[in-house]
Symmetry: C2
Subunit: 368 residues, 2 copies
C-alpha cells in the first residue's frame, strides 16, 4: 500500500476533518504511530516518531525527523512536509508556525502525548488552551476496515498461520521456550514482514498458569501444556494468533481445561455478527467458563480489535457497549490459567461480515 498511488488516505483525512468541524477543534496533532500511518500511509522505523498536524482550514502538515525528510517527500502523499531536529529536547519547535491567535482547542491523543509535549503545546497556545482527546474521532474511523485493509490483515494472518505451523512441526520435549518462539519470529521475518506485532511468547508448565507472557530459557517437559501467542506486521497491519500444545501425553485435567477454553472460544466466535455488542460476545465465553466453575481462572478480556495496532477497539470485554459492524476485525481468545495444572487458550482473528463472521486464521485448533 504505497501511499502515493492511493486515494484512500486523502479520503480518510477528509473524514477526520468532518469530525473535527463537528467537535469544534482548531487543530489536531496526531502523535500515535498507528494513527499517523492511517492518514499518511508512511512507514517509519518503529523507533522513530513523526507528527501529523491538521489545521482547521488549511492543508495538513506532516512533521518528520530531519533524516526522514527526503524519503517522506519521495513516498508520502502529503504535500507540506516539515523537518524537525532529532535528539534535541526542543524538536517540537517545528510546531510553532501552526499556532496563531485563533488556535485554542487542540485535539490530540491523551493516552500517547507525553507531559513534556503537552506542556509545550499549552505554552504555544497560551491562556485559554484546551487539549481535547481526539481518540473518539480516530477510533470510529479505524474500527471499520476497508477491503484494502482487510486484504492486508488476511496476509498478516496467513503468515502467522505458517509460522505457527512451523512451531508445531518442531515441538518436542527438551526444546526451550525461547528457541520455539524465535522459530516463529524468524519464519515471519523470512516472509518479508515489517516485524512482529508484539514480542511473541511461548510459555509452558508453571510459566503458563502464572502466566509468564515472555519466552524464557526453560525447556519443555513431557506432560506439560504449552501456549504460543504471536503475530506479524504486514504492510503495517497486524495479526495475532494463539495455539495451545500438549508436550507429549497430558493428563485428563489438562485436556479438560483445554476443552473448556476451546469450546468457549468457538461459542463466542459463533455469536459474532453485525449488531451484537462487544460485551455480549464477551459474556458468551465468560459464562461458559464460569459454568464449569473456572470463572476466576479467566482473568482477562475475551478479545480485541486488530489492525494497524495489535490492540485497538472494539475491545471484547465486560461493560464495553460498542456494537460490532461489518468490516471490524477482532481476536477471540478466552483463556484458562489453572495453578498446578496449566494454561489453555485458543485465539483466532475474526472478520465481521454483513451476514455474520469469517475466521481469518486457519491453523488447526485441536490440542497437538
Amino acid at each position: 500500500m504505497d501511499c502515493s498511488d492511493s486515494i484512500a488516505f486523502p479520503r480518510r483525512l477528509a473524514a477526520l476533518q468532518e469530525g473535527m468541524e463537528r467537535a469544534g477543534l482548531d487543530l489536531i496533532l496526531l502523535f500515535d504511530r498507528a494513527n499517523v500511518r492511517y492518514f499518511t500511509g508512511f512507514r517509519l522505523n518503529r523507533v522513530i516518531s513523526s507528527i501529523l498536524a491538521i489545521p482547521r482550514d488549511r492543508d495538513p502538515v506532516y512533521l518528520v525527523a530531519q533524516l526522514d525528510l527526503e524519503r517522506a517527500k519521495r513516498d508520502c502523499w502529503i504535500e507540506r512536509i516539515v523537518p524537525f531536529p532529532e535528539d534535541t529536547p526542543n524538536y517540537l519547535s517545528a510546531l510553532a508556525p501552526l499556532f496563531n491567535d485563533k488556535v485554542r482547542k487542540v485535539g490530540m491523543e491523551r493516552d500517547v502525548i507525553t507531559l513534556a509535549q503537552a506542556d509545550y503545546i499549552r505554552e504555544l497556545v497560551g491562556p485559554g488552551c484546551e487539549l481535547v482527546d481526539v481518540r473518539p474521532l480516530t477510533t470510529r474511523l479505524r474500527a471499520v476496515k476497508s477491503p484494502e485493509e482487510i486484504e492486508l490483515i488476511r496476509r498478516a494472518a496467513e503468515i502467522a498461520d505458517r509460522a505457527m505451523g512451523e512451531v508445531i512441526d518442531h515441538l518436542r520435549p527438551g526444546a526451550s521456550e525461547a528457541e520455539l518462539s524465535a522459530l516463529a519470529e524468524c519464519r515471519m521475518l523470512r516472509e518479508g514482514v515489517e516485524g512482529v506485532s508484539f514480542e511473541p511468547f511461548l510459555m509452558s508448565g508453571e510459566n503458563g498458569w502464572l502466566p509468564q507472557r515472555i519466552s524464557s530459557r526453560k525447556l519443555l517437559q513431557p506432560g506439560e501444556l504449552a501456549l504460543l501467542d504471536m503475530g506479524a506486521v504486514y504492510d503495517g497491519y497486524c495479526s495475532d494468533l494463539t495455539r495451545t500444545f500438549a508436550v507429549g501425553e497430558v493428563d485428563a485435567e489438562k485436556r479438560r481445561i483445554f476443552r473448556i477454553a476451546y469450546a468457549a472460544q468457538q461459542a463466542a466466535i459463533a455469536a459474532i455478527k453485525p449488531g451484537i455488542r462487544a460485551c455480549d460476545v464477551d459474556a458468551v465465553a465468560r459464562e461458559m467458563i464460569a459454568a464449569e466453575g473456572l470463572g476466576e481462572y479467566f482473568p482477562h478480556l475475551t478479545g480485541h480489535g486488530v489492525g494497524l495496532s495489535t490492540h485497538e477497539p472494539p475491545i471484547l470485554d465486560r461493560d464495553v457497549e460498542m456494537v460490532l459492524e461489518p468490516g471490524m476485525v477482532v481476536t477471540v481468545e478466552p483463556g484458562i490459567y489453572l495453578p498446578g495444572v496449566g494454561a489453555a487458550r485458543v485465539e483466532d482473528m475474526v472478520l465481521v461480515t454483513p451476514t455474520g463472521h469469517e475466521v481469518l486464521t486457519a491453523t488447526p485448533r485441536e490440542l497437538v
Copy 2:
C-alpha cells in the same frame, strides 16, 4: 541477571532514594520501561507496562498488571507488589493508596508519562501538586555501568557481531534489503536474545543517502553502497552496530565517502577517555568530515550511550557538555549521506575505561 539473587537492585534503589531526599521529592513514580527494569530487575513483555512507586519514607511498591502478579511475586526482589487491572482506563486507581496529605512533589519521567496519566496524578495530589522531572536522577545512576552490566553489554555486542558476520557471508547482488536484515534478526534470535534493540535496517543505493532507515523489498544492485544498522537485547542490555558494504565493485567516489566516514569514526574513538566532554568527541568527527567539504552531509549525532535503552545519555553531539567517565558505554557512528552517491557509516560500541577506552564490537570495518 535474576533479580532475586542480587544485591545490585536494592543498592541502586538506595542511591535513588538519596537523590530523592536531596531533591525534596515526596514520591517517585517510574513509568519508563528501562528505568523500571534498572531498579526491579524484572523482565516484562515489551508491550506490557508496570510502574515502580517509591514513597519517601516507606518501602517501594511495584505495580504490575493483574496477569503479571504471580510471576512478579516469584521473580522480583521487591516485597510489596500490587496488581492493576489491564485494558481499563482507570488502571491507575491502584496508585491512590500511595497518596496522602503530605505528598505534594512527585518525581516522574516527563518524556514518558502521558497527559492522561499526568492529569490523573494531579487529581490524586490535589491543589499544590508539583510534577518534577526525575530524569536527572536516574540518568546519573544509569550512565555509569557496573561490571555486571558491562558483562551483559559485551554479550549483546558479541551477538550483534555474529549476526553481522552472517549478513556479510550472504551479501550478494539480487538479495533484498528485507531478506538480509531478517537474516541478522534471526541470527540474534537464535542466540537466545530477548529481541532486537530496534527495528534493524539495511538500506542500499538511493535508500541509503535519503536515508531510508527501514529495510524495504528493494534488491541490492552491483555498484551500490549498502549499510546495515542493528543490535540485540541480551538480558535487558542492548547492542548497536553498523557496517557499510560494497555490493560488487563500487566507484572511487563511494570509496572516498566511506574512507572519510571511517576515518572520522576512528578519530572520534581515539579521543574517548575519562574527562573528555561528549561535545568534544563529537567535534573530532564533525570537523574531520567538514574539512573534506562534506559537513552538510553528516546530519546527525556522532553517538549515544547504550545500556538498558538503545539510546540514552551520554549523547555525543554538539552542545552536550556531559563529561565521560569510566564505565560509560557509547556508540560512535558519524555518517555521510551523499545524494546520488551513497551512504557510509561505521558504528562501534565503546567502553570508557579508567585509562582510555575499549572497543566492544569487533566485526571487520573495512568496506567488503
